[in-house]
Symmetry: none
Subunit: 209 residues, 4 copies
Amino acid sequence: MAKTAARAEPRKRPSQARSAATVAAMVEAAARIIEVRGWAALTTNHVAELSGVSIGSLYQYFPSKEALLAELVRRERAMLLHDVGLAMALEGELPLAIEQGVMAGLAHQFRRPALALALESAPSSPSLQHEDDALRHALAGQLAGLLARHGVADPDMAAADVIALCRGIIDAAALRGETDMASLARRLGRAVHGYLDTAGPASEAAASA
Amino acid sequence: MAKTAARAEPRKRPSQARSAATVAAMVEAAARIIEVRGWAALTTNHVAELSGVSIGSLYQYFPSKEALLAELVRRERAMLLHDVGLAMALEGELPLAIEQGVMAGLAHQFRRPALALALESAPSSPSLQHEDDALRHALAGQLAGLLARHGVADPDMAAADVIALCRGIIDAAALRGETDMASLARRLGRAVHGYLDTAGPASEAAASA
Amino acid sequence: MAKTAARAEPRKRPSQARSAATVAAMVEAAARIIEVRGWAALTTNHVAELSGVSIGSLYQYFPSKEALLAELVRRERAMLLHDVGLAMALEGELPLAIEQGVMAGLAHQFRRPALALALESAPSSPSLQHEDDALRHALAGQLAGLLARHGVADPDMAAADVIALCRGIIDAAALRGETDMASLARRLGRAVHGYLDTAGPASEAAASA
Amino acid sequence: MAKTAARAEPRKRPSQARSAATVAAMVEAAARIIEVRGWAALTTNHVAELSGVSIGSLYQYFPSKEALLAELVRRERAMLLHDVGLAMALEGELPLAIEQGVMAGLAHQFRRPALALALESAPSSPSLQHEDDALRHALAGQLAGLLARHGVADPDMAAADVIALCRGIIDAAALRGETDMASLARRLGRAVHGYLDTAGPASEAAASA
DNA sequence: TATGAATGAGACTTCATTCAT
DNA sequence: AATGAATGAAGTCTCATTCAT
């Protein structure tokens, strides 16, 4: 009858090799369930079964279903951030850097399209919300830095918009089942450059520089 | 949880005024619950209570919770389509027509922001999926027609992308709690025109006009 | 994933005859399980099964297991209070009134000895605690009033002690399996009168009056 | 929950100093958990953690949770018996000896009030029941001997009643949070002497002897 | 037709206990 | 002997749906 507040952090960091494998297996099982059978099928018992672990073990590593989900989101976010960060860090012209970043994002989405798509509409919850915000901020931060260095006006908002419009286009394409990454990349480039170049009077000079 | 093959269509077309009012009350109750307390709070019993109808009656009008939800989505979709269609139908230049359409979409989102936002991440289900696809198609069709009439290349894809990027930007803004419709409208204009103008070689002439 | 705070009050007052019967059946089932198989066997599923009701129904009337338990305690308390109150209300000499009260308490304990005994050590919880305190207070209040009217010194504490020592003796006797109510009544009388008569100097006059 | 026939005896008598310390640590940890956080928090894993021992080790010394609990009760009982026995063994008048005993009991209760109180309502189980009976018998035996030597009629029953009424008063006082040991001692004395002196005709002579 | 009591599958989570290392 | 990861039965509670009145 005693209820402790549900934490979203893992209960214990897997210290042994075996544990790490167990945790990874559970997170991956969750991912597979979500992408194959949807949110409704994501039950802790199902995750335990699919990962070949007992339900008790699941709860030894995650204090709640929510925490497991948060870990999955964290994992995907880390991958995306890493790839995009790397891509944009390559020195070069602004358009090139952006293109690299967009391509990295696209690649991420196309690696596991169903999963990426599903994670966009996770059941809202404080911890998930937090993970999502963190992703958005980190990504926006990276891009904003790049834009600022190239003299784009209001780089924070511009970064947020660029990311948002990319997400919009990519998600819609994924939902339609598009698989032509090249076409998508081209259109994304158009959208991003169009947005950045079609600037108000104040930033015209900077953008054309 | 006895599940019979769940139909998503209302069980009966409201033929009497009273029925129509009842159905409307239930759909509106669902909308209010979703926007005020989130998806998790959307239970059929709750909907029945809030709409002043018994749970038994609810199931006389809707064969399942899913059908109720589909009806809500249908209702919102109809409103959006109507507004956007009207806005874009106003004769005028391309940029103006588009701006009208974008403004209509924005207005829709700002009428009930929480609801609009929540409906973007409805629990996926065949019928909901279908409703959503229908919306997308209808909207894209309207816009594609407009673009085609103005000689834009590949109008279907362009329409889809324009709608998608607008959704992306608007949703992200809503999520951040932005309330400045004017700023949003300006940025959306930038994004849309940027996308349409920054064209490949084939449409360069149009873009430079 | 949404947890509301567990109330101890019944969820809805049974308004129809059928409901009232259902509620009574559940409370009685709980009583029987506790007295026959002990606290460990008191599970909501078990209660539902024994009362011939579905688990869903149980939770329609009680928001939690705790609330069901509280209702049982409340029921027993009401009976005890009613009997003891009636017994002590009979006009007469102090010793006689007390004897009546003690006999009423004894009778209560002997009606369902195992239940009465078990309820003494209910798993502590806020609501149960509250019910128990209420019983103690009500009983002590009744007795304190009686004692005060007969000039006993410090009637509140005396009442509390008298009740406590009676409970102690009765419980121990019940635990040993004593069944001779007459003997028990005699000893209780001795204990109570002994306590009240063997007073400190201050109240000697009053007690002997 | 694989349940083998649970023994209540410790699995092995601690033959080495280290083992004894380990066992003591676990028992004390259990005591602390019970008094600080209540019965609901008493889990074997929690006990192991608090006592700095692995759960595996705990089960090497105790075959079950119940056995651990029994050992705790045994420990407390031994202390109480030792103190009360010593106190009553002091030669002297009957009233004095009894007063000593009562004081010893009170002192025990006040040493760790929360623990003493909690142990009164331990989850019933065969082995716990047995420990409790043993305590009662031993205590009653000691007191009965004393009473018999002083010619009190029906000393066994009198002893049982005296102990029971003391427990009743003490527990109720503890539950109310009383801390005035002196007042409590005075009232206990009244109750005990009252009970012993207010005898039926048959034992009046004996009591006054 | 409307009502709302009743249903019950199944979700999440805990915790006593085992056993490979 | 000690460790602690793993187990899984079982408990509490929810909610979509049915059906007697």
